[in-house]
């Protein structure tokens, strides 16, 4: 894949979502020797991992193993946390996102994120999605309307909210709020979508809607999902990484990892013997 330069966004040629010469398994995100410290204690130790393009990669592991922290390294959201020190490199499309000249806001526009707890802004449904576009300087009302509709349709929410776009987003149900957050994340047309336990606070019906959505979005986005739920990882992901105590224990295709794990630790976890 061609090396893209995030420091100079105008030079980036957007790849068409339909894909072409790139094989679907080409690595898009390459993590190399990544360690992260909160003050003196290490939350991630020497992680090396390649995440393939336009597939779903799941991070699993017991609570506190560092899977969310690792996810937040991919859009540099850990930057806002105090006393964080990061070693190693993270390359997306060949560009080291931790190199000094990187525009973090441009990075985050292209690496969208959905959080564990649905966090719509206390604004209208429309404004929630328009916000990401507005901060990018988009003013054209017609264009905005179109993007809002397209994003809501992609998030399978349009039919439920099309009559009340200007009502407060806080009036939606938990599952709807989470799909709104997904719509908000894809409105800026990112290439990568990070999901931090997106269904952990939802009931089974809403969860299955989100999972269907993830499978549909896979056509267009590279999705990295953190999940606590191993069935969920098995259902929706193509690759799975198992982390424990800040270390990457095993990374493989999901079917291999769940049916024929290479390490005893992984087997213990996926069969429910600990964690």
């Amino acid at each position: 894949m061609a090396t893209t330069d995030l420091t100079n966004p105008s030079a980036v040629a957007r790849r068409s979502p339909s894909g072409d010469a790139d094989s679907p398994n080409a690595p898009l995100i390459e993590i190399e020797g990544l360690s992260l410290y909160y003050g003196p204690s290490a939350a991630l130790r020497n992680i090396t991992l390649s995440i393939p393009e336009r597939l779903v990669t799941a991070f699993i592991g017991p609570s506190g193993c560092g899977k969310s922290t690792l996810l937040r390294c991919l859009n540099r959201l850990n930057d806002a946390v105090e006393n964080v020190r990061i070693e190693g490199t993270v390359r997306i499309g060949g560009c080291d996102i931790y190199s000094p000249g990187v525009d973090v806001t441009e990075l985050r526009k292209r690496v969208g994120m959905v959080f564990q707890k649905a966090n719509p802004f206390p604004k209208s449904i429309y404004e929630n999605i328009a916000y990401g576009l507005r901060v990018r300087g988009l003013r054209d009302r017609k264009l905005m309307d179109g993007i809002v509709e397209r994003s809501l349709r992609s998030a399978a929410l349009w039919d439920e909210v099309k009559d009340r776009l200007h009502a407060s987003a806080l009036g939606l149900s938990g599952g709807q709020q989470q799909r709104l957050c997904i719509a908000r994340a894809i409105a800026t047309r990112p290439e990568i979508l990070l999901m931090d336990e997106p269904a952990s606070a939802l009931d089974p019906v809403a969860t299955s809607k989100i999972e269907d959505l993830i499978l549909a979005l896979k056509q267009e986005f590279t999705i990295v999902i953190v999940t606590h739920n191993m069935q969920q990882a098995a259902r929706i992901s193509d690759y799975t990484a198992f982390l424990n105590q800040g270390e990457l224990i095993e990374f493989n295709t999901t079917s291999r990892l769940f049916t024929n794990p290479a390490k005893q630790e992984t087997e213990d976890y996926v069969t429910g013997r600990f964690g």
Partner: protein
């Protein structure tokens, strides 16, 4: 325990257990604790009781004017009665005319009292004849504490047009409160407009940008500003601020509403800061992270998401700051120049309601008209600050609940 012992020793009858109906020990099983609880409940109520009592006692003094019963002209117009009218008076009318307490009145006979009143009237009639010849003044027939004269302009003798005049110490006392209200409003507005951007900026910085270590320094420092005695701030305004601002703006009166407003603004910065910072810090972290995750800068996230979410808190902070500024006395007394003139210019000396009360209440006739008008002003300040506090408190509580439920 005893089970193990019972193997070797002959079984002893089990200890008698208290019957179940012993549970019903009456509503007050522990009278001491009950008493203490009620006691501290009463203590906690004292704040409410105090507010009520202050309202009652301050308001009571202003009541005659509020109800339009006071009449400053009445004494002048009705003070001379012919002797036969005095003879026809009932004892209670006589007592009222003499202004005596029941006990003092009873100490002498009715005849003696009537003679005393006639004598007083004779002296007053004499004085009045002399006075009336000296200055025939229609102002003396005006009830200067009537609502019309308290609020609307009036063309007093010697003035070329109707004017708002506060002149409580003069032959004819003039109690128009409009110059004082305008003075208060001017100073308070300057204070709020000066304090709001500074306090809000500091609150935004402390809650959204500052590192934990920096926050641990800045927050107490600003809050310490609230501990500066207002007389010290007034002193600072009087000597340092007034001189500095005079050299910048070159205004005519060195002490004016602008100087007082700036000093007052310094005093209410901690008030506005504390509330605004609390509201901004209560904004769920997820809002800001959500904004960052779609590519907003930290500034855009703070300004476009955190601030709107905390907006009711900022409103409450402004209302509370307004109430505090309106009630503040010492700074304005020292730095505003204290000229009770009606002027909309910020650079004219002016006088606020509170400064007027502080300056004049010590020298009024107890129970007189001036006294009552000052109490009326006091009631007004009390009511406005009370409402401001109430509104700010209500808004903050609703915001806290809303943000807590969505975090």
């Amino acid at each position: 325990m005893s089970d193990a012992d019972s193997v070797t020793t002959p079984p002893s009858p089990p200890p008698a257990k208290p019957p179940w109906h012993d549970l019903a020990r009456g509503r007050v099983a522990r009278p001491g604790e009950w008493l203490v609880e009620k006691g501290i409940f009463a203590v906690s109520l004292t704040a409410i009781v105090m507010i009520l009592l202050i309202f009652v006692f301050v308001g009571r003094e202003a009541l005659p004017i509020l109800l339009g019963q006071a009449d400053s002209a009445a004494a002048r117009v009705q003070r001379i009665l012919p002797p036969e009218d005095v003879d026809r008076m009932t004892p209670s009318e006589l007592r009222a005319a003499l202004g005596l307490s029941r006990r003092k009145f009873a100490a002498r006979s009715l005849e003696e009292q009537k003679a005393a009143l006639k004598e007083i009237y004779a002296v007053r009639a004499e004085a009045d004849r002399n006075g009336a010849e000296a200055i025939p003044d229609k102002d003396s027939e005006v009830n200067t504490v009537g609502w019309r004269y308290l609020i609307l302009p009036h063309q007093w003798t010697g003035y070329s047009r109707p004017e708002f005049i506060w002149q409580p110490v003069s032959q004819i006392q003039k109690f128009n409160v409009v110059p004082l209200l305008v003075g208060s409003l001017k100073v308070t507005l300057v204070a709020v407009l000066f304090a709001l951007p500074l306090a809000l900026g500091a609150a935004l910085y402390v809650s959204q940008f500052a590192s934990r270590r920096l926050r641990a320094w800045i927050k107490p420092a600003i809050e310490m500003l609230a501990g500066v005695p207002s007389v010290v701030l007034g002193f600072f305004a009087l000597f340092v601020l007034a001189a500095a601002l005079e050299s910048v703006f070159a205004f005519q009166s060195r002490l004016n509403a602008f100087v007082a407003g700036i000093a007052l603004g310094v005093a209410i910065i901690p008030v506005i800061f504390a509330l605004a910072e609390e509201a901004l810090s209560a904004v769920p972290r997820g809002y800001v992270e959500g904004a960052l995750a779609v590519g907003a800068s930290r500034w855009q996230a703070a300004w476009g998401v955190a601030l709107p979410a905390a907006w009711p808190g900022v409103f409450a902070a402004v209302v509370l700051g307004f109430g505090r500024a309106l009630g503040e006395t010492m700074i304005v007394l020292m730095a505003s120049g204290n000229a009770a003139i009606l002027s909309w210019s910020l650079f004219d000396s002016s006088r606020t309601v509170t400064a007027t009360i502080a300056a004049e209440l010590g020298e009024v006739v107890f129970g007189g008209h001036h006294y009552r008008v000052l109490f009326l002003l006091g009631t007004l300040v009390l009511a406005v600050s009370f409402v401001a506090n109430l509104v700010a408190d209500g808004v903050m509580n609703r915001l806290r609940r809303r943000l807590a439920s969505s975090s």
